[in-house]
Amino acid sequence: MSGSLTGLFLSSVFTGNIALTGFLGLCPFLSLSRKPALAAAMGVSVTFVMTVTAMLNWLLMRYVLVPYRIEYMQILAFMLVIAALTQVLELFLDRFAPRIFAAFGVFLPLVAVNCAILGVSLFASFREYGFAETLLYSLGSGIGWTLAILLMGGLRRHLIFCRPPAALGPVGIVMTLASLMALAFGCLAGVGG
């Protein structure tokens, strides 16, 4: 990886966008981009959970799985961490921050099965990122995902003025838009250095 941490952060937001080039978290990307308010709340939940689980999973990998030579349990361990964290967070928010819970509580179970969360932890471990790199990569991926879903929401609102080919259907047209967005995000290559 390039030595520059800023570069890593920027590339995880733009050129290496987790939704548009990693194809992760596409289910909520397709379903929630119609409702910008929900998309924003989902984006915040995803970014938070993604960053915290990536850190926890990095520590788990470094201090438990590798020393005890049980790396093959990686996927299972990562999934348990994600499930446990969302569950604990749900209880915690419900008890101590009911207003935040009212806004984000519904999204936590959905976040737990979001493949982008597991994907970021796996990618960070696959590319052998250090602690700071993992932090910036997961934070950048969360922000990039939120940016992509919000931009898609904006584009979809303009679809009411258009008459896309009937054969594409509601999913096909979003895919086509995503293709154009991926192209545009890809053109930012060089920003990340």
Binding site: S31, V113, S179
Partner: protein
Amino acid sequence: MNGNEITVQRRSEAWELFRAGLGEHHPIFVSVLGICSTLAVTTAVRYAAVMAGIVTVTLLLSALIVSLLRRRIPPTYRIITSLLLISTPVILLEKLLRLHAPAIAGELGPYVGLVITNCIILGRIEACASLRSPKMALADALGAALGYGTVLVAIAASRELLGTGRVMGYDIAPAWYPSCAFFQRPAGAFLALALMLALFRHLRGTGTKQGSGGTCGCSRADTPASGNGGGV
């Protein structure tokens, strides 16, 4: 699963379940599930074929086991049990792939592990295997796996041909073809899937019901989890 499944014969019922995976309940085109891997591993036919194989084996094994254990799995722990059952073949297959085809394993990277979160598998288990006999579960799983695999290979073949002019190492396109690298890139993946989807809907008639943006099939796989208060 049809509404008239009680009245039809057992044998044809299994056939219907199998066929639904290729047509009316197509996992990619109709339920819009498993999109992540469909887009990520389709740069070349060999990656797509390996992925389709892994998903098929995992889906068949986990559907069979869930179906055999369906009366013993308590409903509250259904999802976590299913996830554990799914992850076992995935981890084994990943080990085998690393051992026998390290180049392909390196190229697929984390996407092999992400088969666990492939919502087609959890979707078929939730919708069919956890309720029906092993025979029905296998027929249903085979249909879904075949529907997924054929589309995966078809998209990969078109992307490889348009993007590099070769398929599986054979030069197919004439020498003057400029090899449009766009189709090898993520943007091309989205477009290839959109066009394939349009073709499918055109052939079946555009009236085909589809998990539209709002009712994305994945939210179906998500709902039980939220019902359990995040029981995943």
